[in-house]
Symmetry: C2
Subunit: 442 residues, 2 copies
């Protein structure tokens, strides 16, 4: 039997709200408008706020002096669905198989967003109010680094004043284990493009005369790490805080991470910075990842060509106290210094987001832990996560508040990948978590 | 005023006879059938011969004992037209601008093929015969390495017995300079694919845990050369014949090659193996070229993903006395030895072709030089070329004859690249060259 609110989630999932792709601009807006209708229908007041990019949905109950104010953040935009041919069912047509909802955005973030919406809808239907002053803030640009949300927070600073932010956009360490994430990695993105000949050249006629941009981009990319997996950019590790002793112990207690990672990823082996466990490497150590490389002939068979240009898309995952903007400068300097002969380099810095850490043993942190215990039973995990939610740092900077990250994604929900999915039972747990959390914070 | 035969060339160009692409299989055949009709219409007898791939066109005049037998080879297949958005006019709709025909295949090889066809048509119309025993052999698989032509030659060895082969599929050093190419580089192709996780992974959540296949392919590709541009595969240069003294002198006399290359390619600088001029590097030294690389996100903007696999397409240009099959073995061994940790390697060897050298001062060579002088005036250049025509070595091996390479392509005809073109005057010169060559060989 489907839990209440599931049909609404399926409707929400059908909007292909891919924020990075201009072709989906109107789909992103349509999703926002549908959500606005949904929360208004529950009895909240709200509206869409325009930004230079996609709209922000802001909604509230009637605020009453003396109650705690809780800002609930989520995002309604999704990652691109490519490669489409690897989906077992169409990326934007949700289907339920084996108790899981398969669709782009199912887990990141619409499943979790709609769990909160359903939790609120039930509370409002029963009590005509929720026990706190509520602010809903749903944005449509999380997957492109939330470029317009910080200015939005600054502009609406008074209206958004709150005691704490809550977000469900992180993971659970295992099914049924309530998980409190108190740290996130930051991010800094960069695209490098190498230009050579003015046109594609016949590699027989011209091969040997000029530098090949595809060879050059590979040589340049290969300078980013040493053979052991450490990032080789000078100054990259400056300011990185060591992993705390209690964290090393707590994370080691979560079970055999290596076996779990091998199983989850299907990789032939684990690999990464020496001297750290895989959890430490993902949660508390910075990385340089190559998200895409391309140049020359991409089709079937062979084409004997020297491509005129080639690109590499990089992202750096950062930890306290690295500064993303400084990292981009170091990376650009490294690329310029290591550029092979005979080609020209173009560097496009991309979006950045600060790393984040809060104290899980603070008053608000312990309230969150109580809510998790109520929903999931006694077992609670305290972790950091490897992903980035740049907005968490923005809440800290602009509104001066911490963020409670109470995520519902399982490690095999395949966020950002083909066949993304979300268990129906996690949706139901999310509905209860919304109710327990607001009760504990009240 | 358009020269006679130009309309026929335009018709021939409209067939998108891309041999590497299964989607164009019927277009390749349609082109062959049209050509058969054309040469039968001139009074030759001929037919299409099936192969496991695309058909071979074979046609003859009536052979008379005591005359020299000349086999005229050309290919009617073309390279893929991608990237399509860089063409100023559609790739398979020929247009004439500034005295040049723009179309995929205009120079490589349909313009030169049809010049010979027109030369023969005129001679046959005037004299009802040509002065030699003629064999026309037009194939449809040159751009994929002629996998079926050598078996075809072996099967039809008696029927194809001849004194010499003539081919126009090479270049002229400059407009108006008749050019005799007495050497070609060989080729060996290989695709390497690196496999990592079973699915694309979120680079935040998983970054640091596993090897990234895109990083790995870049690191692996970077091991192919040293920083100076020499190929770093052990044994690669074994057996390479030094450039002869007379060649160094003759090629230096062709003018400032560096300036010409910079102008033709539009590259920021020249780059290649130290110790050789750019002509020596292109004509008499082997190379390893990266024809394509790809992996991870290829679209606009950023996607924070660890791609599950990545590929690189390589081709080696080879000179006497390198053995292409041995080079592929050395390359595969090199890739396996240098594979970064944590990924799995798949190597697909591709097509190969032997390098070729003949003596330009032999009796047949001097006949070819006389024909060039008749068409172009006194200036003749003796060169090698960097491209590969594997079939030239096959003619030597199976039929025991040398090949006269009398090309009509200019350096800026952009063979294999967008906006490929062929000067109308070179087409007209090709018609005269066909007539002069058969007269000199008679």
């Amino acid at each position: 039997m489907n839990p209440p609110g599931l049909d609404d989630l399926l409707t929400c999932l059908r909007f292909p709200s891919v924020s990075t792709d201009p072709a989906h601009r109107s789909d992103v807006r349509a999703c926002a408008e549908w959500l606005l209708g949904r929360v208004r229908g529950m009895g909240l007041t709200g509206e869409l706020h325009e930004t230079p990019g996609h709209p922000v949905l802001l909604a509230k109950n009637k605020h009453i002096a003396g109650r705690r104010t809780v800002l609930l953040y989520a995002h309604y935009d999704v990652q691109p669905a490519e490669p489409l041919n690897e989906w077992k069912s169409p990326a934007f047509e949700p289907v339920i198989r084996d108790g899981r909802i398969f669709c782009r955005g199912a887990t990141d973030n619409k499943g979790q967003l709609m769990a909160h919406v359903q939790g609120l809808a039930e509370t409002l239907a029963k009590h005509a109010d929720v026990p706190v002053n509520l602010i809903l803030l749903f944005e449509g640009e999380e997957e492109i680094g939330s470029p317009n949300l910080k200015p939005f927070l600054e502009k609406h600073r008074e209206e958004l004043k709150c005691d704490v932010v809550a977000i469900s956009d992180t993971g659970m360490v295992a099914p049924g284990v309530g998980t409190f994430t108190y740290g996130l990695r930051g991010i800094a993105c960069l695209e490098a493009r190498v230009h050579g000949p003015a046109i594609d050249l016949h590699s027989g006629i011209f091969g040997g005369a000029v530098a090949n941009p595809v060879t050059s981009i590979a040589r340049l990319t290969a300078t980013l790490h040493d053979a052991g997996g450490r990032v080789a950019i000078a100054g990259f590790y400056d300011g990185v805080r060591p992993v705390a002793g209690w964290e090393r112990e707590a994370w080691a207690g979560l079970g055999d991470g290596d076996a779990e990672m091998l199983d989850l990823t299907g990789s032939p082996a684990l690999f990464g910075e020496p001297g750290y466990t895989e959890r430490e490497r993902r949660w508390a150590r910075p990385t340089a990842e190559v998200n895409g490389i391309g140049g020359g002939y991409q089709g079937e068979g062979s084409k004997t060509v020297i491509g005129r240009e080639a690109f590499v898309k990089l992202s750096f995952r950062l930890v306290p106290d690295q500064d993303p903007v400084r990292v981009l400068k170091l990376a650009e300097a490294h690329l310029r210094e290591n550029l092979p002969q005979g080609v020209r380099l173009e560097v496009k810095p991309g979006h950045t987001g600060m790393p984040y850490l809060m104290d899980p043993h603070s008053a608000l942190g312990t309230a969150a832990q109580r809510a998790l215990k109520k929903v999931f039973g006694g077992k609670i995990a305290l972790i950091r996560e490897g992903g980035s939610i740049p907005i968490v740092q923005a809440f800290k900077d602009v509104l001066g508040v911490d963020t409670l990250l109470l995520g519902l994604a399982l490690p095999d929900c395949q966020a950002h990948a083909p066949n993304e999915n979300f268990p129906v039972e996690n949706f139901a747990a999310g509905v209860r978590l919304n109710q327990a959390l607001l009760a504990e914070l009240a």
